[in-house]
Symmetry: C2
Subunit: 433 residues, 2 copies
């Protein structure tokens, strides 16, 4: 069957065979299928959809397009974590040392920020000396010694995903649950863990705007993981406003350290501990009833903070930042964004806060942009909190004022003040297993 016939099949709403899908993925990886043909098939997939079976075959073909990390010689149960992405989402940096302090091995491959969302690697690199580019051998050494490691993915994992994602980004074919699920799970399966906890975000600042969409994505992700032999669970969580009170890079590291010291903002603490508890259960380190207590103890005892120190050192970073935030990149200037009138913060639109942070230099528009790790946004008033006219709601931190006006406009637009206290959705909306 020629590739044009494969495209026509999906165009007409018919299911692709395993051979069709493997031919597609292998052809894209080897650059044997022209991009215009791949783009046509991707659009047909976005509109016509894919069955769970097709999605599983796609994931498997993408997984097998590259290497697979072998962690089987490491002792312990290895449980990964993945978030579908939000603003101020620094959970991995809290979670990895926290779960490791409870005996779970946490091999974590993270990404860089793009557009309005930040990236875990960029945040960690705000710590002087922290290396995200470990080799697989170094990664495994850190896991053996510390129990957690957060690194960048090697280019040898799921190379098909890299090519497909670059093409989807410029052809309006990102918005597809099967394509998103195959992209996420091919990488996660390549990372070689035994279990995986997913944080599927839903809301204004997330890719999935509605809860039904988020549930469908979670269901698809869990189905693929489970079918591939990975113990997989997902929490559906709200992403309307930024998570925590810091958006940027160095400021998010500070917030993570504060959280590990027991002084974190409520939402970040709640989500990090909930996800960590699920990792303990998946790893068999705690039963359903006791997992949360074990996690809370690791946080309160300082064991999680100690793990964080060890994690930073093992990655070549300066662990003195844990006690001296002045060693992190700073912003020389600040600009207060104030409430126009009395009331309650009804909404603090995550995407717009993320755009403000990007405009200040903390994020990148394009993959090769440089970023300013001292810049960012602080949230002084969270949704639900009362505010008086003239009170500061957001604080913009910056070194370069060139795009301050744009950042300020985004920040003002992000704030909605209402007369009555708003009814806010719960942070954790449900679990899919």
């Amino acid at each position: 069957m020629s590739f044009v016939d494969v495209i026509a099949k999906k165009r007409d709403g018919r299911a692709l065979s395993r051979e069709d899908i493997e031919g597609f993925v292998n052809g894209v990886t080897a650059a044997e299928i022209p991009e215009y043909q791949a783009a046509a098939l991707l659009m047909a997939i976005v509109i016509r959809g894919m069955s769970d079976q097709e999605t599983a075959w796609l994931t498997d073909a993408m997984l097998r397009s590259g290497d697979r990390v072998d962690l089987s010689d490491l002792p312990g149960v290895k449980v990964g974590k993945h978030s579908t992405g939000g603003v101020g989402d620094k959970v991995s940096i809290v979670l990895a040392p926290l779960a490791a302090a409870c005996g779970v091995v946490v091999p974590k491959m993270s990404g860089r920020g793009l557009g309005h969302t930040g990236g875990t690697l960029d945040k960690l690199e705000a710590i002087p000396g922290y290396r995200t580019d470990l080799t697989i051998d170094e990664f495994k050494q850190v896991l053996r010694r510390v129990g957690a490691s957060i690194v960048g993915p090697t280019s040898a994992l799921a190379p098909a995903d890299k090519r497909l994602y670059a093409l989807r980004d410029v052809t309006a074919t990102v918005a597809s649950i099967p394509l998103i699920a195959a992209s996420v799970m091919s990488k996660k399966l390549a990372e070689g863990g035994d279990g995986l906890v997913l944080d599927v975000k839903c809301g204004d600042g997330a890719f999935m705007k509605s809860e039904p969409e988020a549930r469908e994505l979670a269901r698809t992700l869990v189905a693929i993981g489970t079918q591939a032999g990975l113990r997989t669970e997902a929490l559906i969580t709200t992403m309307d406003a930024p998570l925590g009170r810091a958006i940027g890079n160095a400021v998010e590291i500070v917030e993570c350290l504060e959280t590990l010291k027991g002084r974190g903002p409520d939402d970040l603490v709640a989500l990090s501990t909930a996800l960590a508890a699920r990792m303990l259960v998946l790893a068999g380190r705690a039963g359903e009833a006791e997992a949360d207590r074990v996690v809370q103890r690791a946080l309160a005892s300082g064991a999680a903070l100690d793990k964080m120190r060890a994690l930073i050192e093992a990655h070549g970073g300066d662990s003195r930042v844990v006690d001296d935030y002045g060693r992190l990149p700073q912003a020389a200037r600040r600009c207060a964004i104030r409430a126009a009138h009395d009331g309650y913060i009804e909404r603090l639109r995550a995407e717009l806060v993320g755009r403000a942070s990007m405009a200040l230099g903390a994020g990148r528009r394009r993959m090769n942009d440089a970023i300013d790790r001292g810049a960012g946004v602080l949230v002084m008033k969270k949704p639900g909190e009362a505010v008086h006219a003239g009170e500061t709601v957001l604080e913009l931190l910056y070194n370069d004022a060139r795009e301050l006006a744009e950042a300020s406009a985004f920040a003002h637009e992000a704030i909605h003040v209402s007369a009555a206290p708003p009814v806010l959705p719960p942070l954790i909306r449900g679990r899919v297993a």
Copy 2:
């Protein structure tokens, strides 16, 4: 609005604006929009469709991507003809001199054959010396002198269509009524006539397999033409079996000459005279009631044949072929395809007969293939005719036997014999105006 947003709009089933569509067509013409983005939008259009208004804008943008022939300084009413393509469809070659003999000016730009369908230009070039590559000035001189001219399109007409068609061909995005309609009508409008008669084929051997699809295409084509100020009509005609009894190039010229001499096969005569009559009506050369009679007279009197002679000469061709078919390319060898048992020809599948002809060398697989103008297929028994076991149904004409086995297989597969006489659909199924 970025082009990715335009793609997303159509992906989500929303209507494109005139600006969106112009940006697309101009970007494709100037090669400023990458092919992968154009392919993604084309697929979204194929699946989501386009309104009549969007299709009209697309046609107009494609029309304005290039030159437009100006025939306004020629006397008389200029009426073009276009067929959506079939096997053995030689109607234009009969129709042009026939309508011209009745006083209609017939400016006809035709195409080359590809795949299982032949091309009018290839057939005419079987006549020694016949030039299809006239300049616009030469084309107009022939129209002025003879009243009809059949040439190839200049590359300056609707260049956007050329680029888009090449991309659609390799991305499974050909099958779309709006895209087909815009492609046909942008070229026809660029040709500068006053009226247009369309032959929209439907059936096994046509692009539109069902009558409702063919009617929808006809309706769309007529709507675009009418809106653009072109008097446009369409006949819906059956294309299950080849038209006439000859498929190829020189053999089709012979059949056209025989038809102009009053000895043509019933179906070819009926379709050519019906379309010619509509051209007379559109041109105001005859009323509804008398048009058919005027056409029949031009055929019976030899006036149409005289026009054919003049047409050939005006194009530099050897008009002695009209009386001496031996001056046309010949096939040195013949192979009879016989009926396996007694009965009636129930079906003679046009597409398979076309493939047989292509395999014999009369057509091309790819645009740059050379063709053998002497090769082809003769139909000895048409659908509905009785046949005895061992009687010849098709005769394969060839010079090169390399693909004879393949041609023979297609030919055998094309023939369906039934015990009872089949019920055949009418040749002309309706008219859309």
